[in-house]
């Protein structure tokens, strides 16, 4: 039972990751390997803010913003008058500059956990759209395969930058609510309840967003058919940017939830992300409910295999993906993708 509880808690976090992956894939066809890195950076940022240090993510954000601004200028250099270019560049760079300034000012003051959360979110969330602008928007029409290779490239770069900006040590944050109570034979920590609760709330609001709001519907439209969506006036680049923003926001939530439960290192994101990924793939990179169920399944499988064969925990998790992939591809054998 204890394993089951552990599994469900982990599974809830994988579910968040998986949902973000499905969301991004559906809208942009990018398999967002760096999602896990964003989670790790979120956790490390929070840990740094708790101890009053300036988080390395400030520099990362500034770097990404600078790259995005340069690319924006280059992309529009022969199409727009210089005034417009300057304005666009300013629009691109300004949010990062404001946020960075705020963090540099406020971080040393240690204003408490609420302010820390806000600062962390405002550092990590803009990384989503900046990442989209620099790495993926120029490749928007490329095949899924090319986008996947680019995503792997982005992951490589971000891992290296993570090491440069956060150092090699691992950190764990203090839990948001420090409490535990017994429920029959179980000891339930408040943090794990928070994890499950927050996940459910977020999933529910995402479901509402997609079925009820116009933007949600537009995102779904550009997921189904990019060209068609463009023809009816949905700006697909902005849809991609929005999807990345949402993914980064989900990453912050996951980070806040996972950081007190596990010690995070600059490169922890990849493993966490890949497990979310296993779930996303089981769900076929398409169906949200199936994805969530699969994520809980992965969490439980992990809890049990770490108990019975801890050395081979990762082997078991990653091996489990292959029969599932096989099943998927056999079922869709007739839709061959050709270049």
């Amino acid at each position: 039972m204890f394993l089951l509880q552990d599994g469900v808690t982990n599974g809830a976090i994988y579910a968040l990751l998986a949902v973000a992956l499905v969301l991004v894939f559906a809208v942009t066809r990018v398999i967002l390997i760096p999602q896990g890195d964003l989670v790790a950076f979120g956790g490390l940022t929070l840990a740094a803010l708790e101890t009053g240090r300036t988080p390395g993510s400030v520099w990362l954000l500034l770097g990404l913003a600078a790259a995005a601004t340069v690319m924006e200028v280059i992309a529009s250099r022969n199409r727009l008058p210089p005034g417009r270019i300057a304005l666009n560049a300013l629009k691109m760079a300004l949010p990062a500059l404001v946020i960075a300034a705020a963090v540099l000012l406020l971080a040393p003051l240690q204003l408490g956990s609420i302010v820390n959360l806000v600062l962390c979110a405002s550092l990590i969330i803009p990384m989503g759209p900046y990442l989209y602008r620099t790495a993926f928007q120029p490749l928007a029409d490329a095949s899924v395969l090319v986008l996947l290779i680019a995503a792997v490239g982005a992951h490589l770069a971000m891992t290296g930058l993570g090491l440069a900006f956060f150092g090699a040590e691992g950190y764990r944050t203090s839990p948001l609510i420090d409490a535990a109570f017994t429920l029959g034979p179980l000891t339930v920590t408040a943090q794990s309840l928070l994890v499950v609760g927050a996940t459910l709330a977020l999933l529910l609001s995402l479901a509402l967003f997609f079925s009820r709001t116009l933007i949600g519907k537009a995102l779904r439209a550009s997921a189904v058919n990019r060209r068609g969506a463009r023809l009816v006036g949905i700006p697909t680049a902005r849809a991609g940017s929005l999807a990345f923003t949402m993914a980064a926001a989900i990453a912050v939530v996951s980070a806040v939830l996972v950081a007190p439960l596990a010690t995070l290192y600059y490169d922890s994101g990849f493993i966490i992300g890949l497990k979310g990924f296993v779930a996303a793939i089981i769900g076929g990179l398409a169906a949200y409910p199936a994805t969530v169920a699969a994520a809980i399944g992965v969490g439980i499988l992990e809890a049990f295999s770490s108990f019975w064969a801890s050395a081979f925990k990762e082997v078991i998790i990653f091996a489990s993906i292959i029969p599932i992939l096989l099943l998927r591809s056999l079922r869709s054998a007739h839709h061959e993708e050709e270049e």
Binding site: A142, I149, L274, F312, F318, E338
Partner: protein, 591 residues
């Protein structure tokens, strides 16, 4: 291998093998070149797998691991001689690749690379946790290779071994690409459906290329183990696998020499960056991945073909003029009279896509030696009917019989084996291959040389006959002037003719032509009509979809008319011309 390739390889070999003889080249450089050579082998496999075959793998490092660990265990624990372990290393890698390939090669699109990430992770943790192979510490004290009695310990000595392996692999790979099996592999990326309809077993071609790439990686692993004299799991993790892919992409996935260029760039850059980056950041760590990651993205954004094509352009004068092909000795023709008079019978064929009925209870016959036209307005279900007959789609209801045998439910390849050939409404040629090579794919089923024969060039006699046949069919459709051009450079009408030549290379009894005259000029249409009549005279039957009514009316013996998936008329051209239902379907109202 064409002579131009041979010349290029000879120059390359001379340069590479002369390098360590030069006394002024420092040992450190030689060591780097050994690493480049080892990485080149892996990248070469990836060029074939990713660039040529269109399958992306992030997990090649695991296969390097298989090769390295096999020899490490056998030499240290069982005292085997290093040379004896080479076949075992390759066999282990090959068997592992076959097992993994059987599961993952079927994965289409992006699922395959995701699968490779999964097993890349899986094997890294496995290597790191198995006590038998030293877990995280790995295995040390691996003996060096010996040449007669001389241990090959120095970098200069092993350099020669590594680069001979690289040169042989390049030669073998070039041979493979220019063989019957290789043409099947090269057709994977752009025309898997067409290759399948020409009788290429696409799944098997994918598996072959996957195992071949893994074997090159296994060879690299074996060399690595005896050069480093130690193995650790860290050398085979996913990041290294990504680096190998980076090499293939940088060099230009799809170009054999691009693999070596890419390997050189990555190994040298890694070396420089490992010294330079920690100085920038102030403490140690593998920061080179930042540069590699950014480089990978930039490369995809700026030049998706990598660096090799730009460099190769300067050397293009090396490639000579192709020799003319003697078409006297061709492949043996099959019997045209064996089949009964009623060749093809479609009985109540129905195809539904969800709620849409694309073909509804259609029946018609193609007697032997007849030309039957299938006409109807756009969306009438003509191409769907073609796909049903050739097995590209399965029927929802009804039966299709060919020469007395039921063929619905067979795969396109099985149908090709029954000598039914087809062309496609949307041309499916491999644009990067020459017209001749594309057409030769049609003769795939008529040759039997395997992969090994291709690599070792034991297939020359058969290859000559295949090319003679292909050249003969190209002449018949009137494309002889374009034979050596890339298929992608031809005008659309010419591409359709190339498809007909490819179909004829199958030696068909029944030929299905989907809009063959579209995009042809008047004179070309007349020549095509003459060719089709000649084929009928030789005993071939033809089923023809075409919009050019003059072309259909002058050529066919019978016409079947479809409208909204249903057959509305059937008969001789003169009857169809007068049929009111047909006129209504085409013009909207009865005239």
């Amino acid at each position: 291998m064409p002579t131009s390739d041979l010349k290029r390889l000879a120059i390359f070999a001379a340069v590479v093998l002369a390098l360590p003889l030069l006394p002024f080249v420092p040992s450190f450089w030689i060591t780097l070149f050994v690493f480049i050579g080892i990485a080149s082998l892996v990248a070469l496999g990836l060029v074939l797998l990713t660039g040529v075959g269109g399958m992306t793998s992030f997990g090649q490092a695991a296969f390097v691991g298989f090769g390295a660990y096999t020899t490490a265990v056998l030499t240290t624990s069982f005292g085997w001689s290093p040379w004896l372990t080479l076949p075992v290393s390759l066999a282990t890698t090959g068997v592992a690749a076959l097992a993994i390939g059987l599961v993952t090669v079927r994965l289409s699109g992006h699922y395959l690379p995701l699968g490779t990430i999964a097993w890349g992770m899986c094997f890294y943790y496995l290597f790191g946790n198995l006590q038998v192979i030293g877990a995280h510490d790995g295995i040390s004290g691996i003996p060096p290779l010996h040449f007669i009695d001389q241990p090959l310990t120095g970098a200069r000595a092993i350099y020669v071994v590594v680069w001979i392996a690289v040169l042989l692999s390049i030669a073998g790979t070039l041979n493979l690409l220019n063989s019957r099996v290789g043409r099947g592999i090269r057709a994977l990326r752009s025309g898997a459906t067409a290759a399948e309809s020409s009788g290429v077993n696409v799944w098997r071609a994918k598996l072959l290329v996957f195992v071949y790439a893994a074997l090159l990686a296994g060879l690299a692993g074996w060399l690595y183990a005896h050069f480093q004299r130690a193995t650790t799991p860290g050398a085979f993790n996913l990041n290294i696998g990504i680096e190998y892919l980076l090499m293939a992409v940088i060099g230009g996935a799809g170009h054999v020499y691009g693999a070596i260029l890419g390997a050189a760039i990555v190994v040298l850059a890694k070396n420089v960056l490992q010294d330079a980056m920690p100085m920038i950041f102030g403490f140690a760590g593998n920061y080179e991945i930042i540069v590699f990651g950014v480089l990978l993205i930039l490369l995809l954004q700026v030049s998706r073909d990598g660096f090799w094509p730009a460099i190769a352009g300067r050397f293009s004068r090396l490639s000579g003029v192709a020799a003319p092909i003697d078409t006297t000795y061709r492949l043996a023709k099959g019997d045209m009279t064996l089949s009964p008079d009623l060749l093809l019978a479609v009985k109540g064929a129905t195809k539904r896509f969800g709620g849409l009925v694309a073909v509804n209870d259609v029946s018609f016959k193609v007697p032997r030696g007849h030309i039957v036209g299938l006409i109807g307005p756009n969306g009438a279900g003509k191409s769907t009917t073609f796909n049903l007959v050739t097995g590209v789609l399965g029927v929802s209801e009804g039966e299709i019989h060919f020469a007395g045998e039921r063929i619905d439910g067979l795969t396109p390849r099985q149908i090709a084996a029954r000598r039914i050939a087809r062309t496609f409404q949307h041309v499916k040629l491999a644009p990067g291959m020459s017209v001749l090579e594309n057409v030769a794919i049609g003769a795939h089923k008529r040759g039997r040389a395997g992969m090994l024969a291709g690599i070792l060039k034991l297939d020359r006699a058969e290859e000559r006959r295949i090319f003679a046949e292909a050249a003969f069919q190209i002449e018949r459709v009137g494309l002889q002037a374009e034979m050596h051009r890339k298929a992608g450079e031809l005008a659309l009408g010419q591409q359709r003719l190339a498809e007909i030549a490819r179909a004829l290379c199958l030696d068909p009894v029944l030929l299905l032509l989907d809009e063959p005259a579209a995009g042809l000029r008047h004179m070309e249409k007349q020549a095509l009509a003459a060719l089709i009549r000649r084929l009928r005279y030789e005993g071939m039957s033809v089923l023809l979809v075409e919009h050019d009514m003059d072309f259909v009316m002058q050529l066919t013996d019978e016409i079947v008319v479809l409208d909204f998936g249903t057959k509305i008329a059937e008969g001789a051209p003169a009857e169809i011309r007068r049929n009111e239902a047909v006129i209504e379907a085409y013009l909207g109202t009865a005239a």
